[in-house]
């Protein structure tokens, strides 16, 4: 490097840093008095919001925006932990009023009975209206057909879209998190869907600051994801902090299980072992709660929420990789389902 160039680089560095220092000084002299005042006011208070409070405030802001800007929102509620957290956030957003929109459950007909009981108890307790879209009805009258692999997760899309159209929902809250999957990582917080519920990932609206643009035309609707920025660990820490009740299957319990595709499957009405699959009793828990036909349990002794927080913090597998057969089909499994109108 030539001496000349070195000198030039040095000059530029100094100039840049002195410019920065100058600006910092200007800013500082302007705000130093206020800074002292604020510091004084904040004595004893938290200087910055802790991570969970930041995420909670962001989610509540989103929920309130959607409730204010849309005519007929609904909240997707399955009894799974993410939807339970979302409903909890909604109760906080509108306190002392009740949650001003119904909850919608797409029932695959293969749900864990404990989770359905929990769902019913929760809506009863909060006084919210429950709308159920039933995959079984669609199978019974031939609008849908059972898949060869037995999983009903992909079959949820049609009943979901029909429920949205029939109830004229213009915004639907989902508990999707961006850390769950690579395609979800690209989803906006407000995601516009066309008449067919399709997601067009190449044509998403830019989402700037915390100004959410929910404008849509007749036939379109919006999916809103208030907990986009939460990770699985955030969810569990929040459940611990807020003492949120969950279905018992999230915690360690004894269960008759068998192994299939490298996952532990529960024995149930809709989930039976084949002749070659040996049934054993294990101590397990669920990291995700979906359709019994495609959700696997993990071997775990985590019997309390504190245990689960520790376990999740130390886990070396993602929750979907560990427990969801439907996401293993291909690298773009989630993207394809989302494009078709799935969450």
């Amino acid at each position: 490097m030539s001496t000349e160039a070195q000198a030039e680089a040095q000059t530029a560095r100094e100039a840049a840093s002195s410019e920065g220092a100058h600006r910092a000084r200007a800013l500082f002299s302007g705000v130093s008095k206020r800074r002292e005042e604020v510091a004084e006011r904040r004595q004893g208070a938290t200087q910055r919001l802790a991570q969970l409070d930041t995420l909670e405030s962001e989610a509540i802001h989103i929920i309130r925006e959607v409730a204010a800007e849309f005519e007929r929102p609904a909240l997707l509620f399955s009894g799974g932990k993410d939807s339970v957290v979302m409903l909890h956030l909604a109760t906080k957003a509108f306190w002392p009023g009740k949650v001003p929109f119904p909850v919608l459950h797409v029932d695959t007909g293969h749900n864990f009975p404990e989770v359905l009981a929990f769902r019913d108890r929760t809506v009863e307790r909060l006084g919210v209206r429950l709308v159920v879209a039933s995959v079984q009805d669609y199978l019974d009258d031939g609008r849908l057909h059972e898949r060869a692999d037995g999983t009903r997760n992909p079959l949820q899309t049609l009943p979901l879209l029909d429920a949205i159209a029939d109830n004229r929902f213009d915004a639907v809250f989902g508990g999707g998190r961006r850390d769950e999957d690579k395609a979800r990582a690209k989803e906006r917080i407000l995601s516009l869907r066309d008449e067919f519920g399709q997601w067009d990932p190449r044509n998403q609206r830019p989402e700037l600051w915390n100004l959410y643009n929910g404008r849509h035309t007749v036939g379109q609707h919006v999916r809103a994801f208030p907990i986009s920025n939460w990770t699985e660990l955030d969810i569990w820490r929040y459940i611990e902090r807020e003492r949120i009740e969950l279905p018992g299957i999230y915690y360690a319990h004894q269960r008759e299980v068998f192994q299939r595709d490298g996952m532990w499957r529960a024995i149930g009405e809709h989930s039976q072992p084949r002749d070659t699959e040996r049934v054993t009793v294990r101590t397990v828990r669920y990291r995700t709660v979906g359709d019994m036909s495609c959700t696997g349990a993990v071997l775990s002794d985590a019997a309390t929420v504190q245990d689960v927080v520790r376990e999740v913090a130390a886990s070396t597998l993602t929750e979907r990789g560990a427990t969801r057969a439907d996401d293993r089909i291909s690298e773009a499994a989630m993207e394809d389902r989302k494009k078709d109108g799935y969450f």
Binding site: A16, T91, K182, R202, T316
Partner: protein, 449 residues
């Protein structure tokens, strides 16, 4: 499909990261092929944010595609696959859309907005930068500062991103040459100086091999600064500190007036006449007893209570979501702004603003648009385009309008008053969206001058 993952048995080892920290948001930016996805993949991989099944999947795909690996032949995985989430991205080897990633170190939790480099995706850089505490700007050491680099610096400057960290990547491909690094560093600092970007850190890295990404590299002995991740771990979260110091502002999202629709368990007698104004503090701090003014009406009143889900707070600060009770029964609705008394300027119907134009539909003088500011949306008429930013000289040049990715200054006449404030001093209440009245699409990011 040949997944052979063993039944999931979470291995409970030592207890990492049980302490709850604070969030730091940063965005990446660069030109195409600068290796941004690889750098992000490297950050995630080396900070151990990638879990075993994700790594398995990426390793498998890398092998199927015959990925060559690092220059020393050790790495056999294409790290870019960790972040390129859409099929088209993986097939074309480019990033199309912003991908959000989450990772944590012992010091901090990060939200990373990985923004694409193609010029046509600059809108995503604007998106990522609008909420970022820092922007990591990639430069290919072999190519140096490009127009796209200058564009991204302009965006970072305009949006007041507090810190810019420049990663001079592919330093391995120039033989770890200090001369090359210093030349690029000089160009970047000069450009930053012209723009007035204050806080710039320049780091030589090899995303492919990991030099100076998480750990300092022995292959750049002439570089004494911290590795990229160290920089990110230690930068002050200036955005939040500054926002906290700005005067109190709360855009009203909705009025909580439950009357008959009280939540179960709430005392009907005590809350029958409850009325509060729900919103997220855009800036500053508010306390019970504070004098406030409601804009645009200009009426004054006093804060009598701050509620959050059944808890009465003594004070609240940005970015908390709360509900305020006020002393006087004045007409307040969604779209109004509650501000600390004596700190707000007059609401205006004439907006002088800078725009980042994000739509393929060009802007022409006379266009009718919608302006979304805080929680209020009003009609606007673009009376004139004062000029557009020339990226070579960083000066405004006369232009008939703005095209996709242009940055320019405009004058907008509003159908109703807005309590608009300068973005330079009020980040939240100085920002707005320009929305297409016909199809509802977002056309531009707006910043009040």
């Amino acid at each position: 499909m040949t997944t052979t993952t063993a039944p999931a048995t979470p291995a409970v080892q030592a207890v990492p990261l049980l302490e709850e920290g604070t969030l730091f948001r940063f965005a990446t930016a660069g030109s195409v092929d600068d290796g941004k996805s690889t750098l992000v993949g490297r950050l995630l991989h080396d900070s151990k944010a990638i879990l075993a099944d994700q790594l398995d999947a990426v390793t498998r795909t890398s092998q199927e595609r015959g990925f060559g690996g690092a220059s020393d032949g050790t790495t056999k995985i294409d790290l870019a696959l960790l972040t390129d989430g859409l099929r088209a991205e993986r097939e074309q080897g480019i990033t199309i859309d912003v991908a959000y990633r989450y990772f944590a170190t012992d010091r901090r939790s990060f939200i990373l907005a990985d923004c694409p480099g193609h010029v046509q995706y600059t809108k995503n850089t604007v998106t990522g930068a609008s909420t970022a505490d820092a922007v990591v700007l990639l430069i290919d050491a072999r190519k140096g500062v490009l127009e796209q680099t200058r564009r991204h610096l302009s965006v970072a400057h305009l949006l007041r991103v507090p810190h810019v960290v420049v990663a001079v990547n592919k330093i391995d491909l120039v033989g770890f040459s200090e001369d090359v690094f210093r030349a690029v560093e000089t160009d970047v600092l000069r450009a930053a100086l012209e723009l007035g970007v204050g806080d710039v850190t320049v780091v030589p890295v090899s995303a492919l091999d990991g030099d100076n990404v998480v750990d300092r590299s022995a292959r750049t002995p002439w570089y004494y600064g911290p590795a990229l991740l160290e920089v990110l771990e230690t930068l002050p979260a200036t955005d939040e500190i500054e926002t906290g110091l700005e005067p109190f502002r709360l855009p009203v999202q909705l009025v909580l007036r439950p009357q008959g629709a009280l939540a179960p368990g709430v005392d009907a007698g005590a809350f029958r006449d409850y009325r509060a104004y729900a919103g997220q503090l855009a800036s500053g701090t508010v306390r019970v007893g504070d004098e406030v003014v409601v804009l645009p009406s200009g009426r004054s009143t006093t804060v009598t209570g701050i509620d959050f889900a059944g808890t009465q707070l003594h004070e609240a600060f940005a970015p908390q979501s709360v509900a305020l009770r006020l002393a006087d029964e004045i007409d307040i609705a969604r779209g109004d702004l509650i501000a600390a008394a004596g700190t707000a300027g007059e609401p205006t119907r004439d907006l002088a603003a800078s725009l980042c134009w994000l739509s393929p539909k060009p802007l022409r003088e006379g266009a009718k648009v919608l302006i979304k500011h805080g929680t209020r949306t009003v009609q606007g008429l673009v009376r004139s385009v004062t000029g557009k930013l020339d990226l070579d000289s960083f000066t405004l040049q006369a232009a008939p309008g703005l095209e996709l990715n242009d940055i320019g200054d405009v004058e907008i006449r509003l159908a109703a008053e807005l309590p608009a404030e300068a973005y330079a001093s009020h980040r939240r209440t100085g920002a707005f969206l320009v929305v297409d009245a016909a199809d509802g699409n977002t056309l531009a990011a707006g910043l009040v001058r």
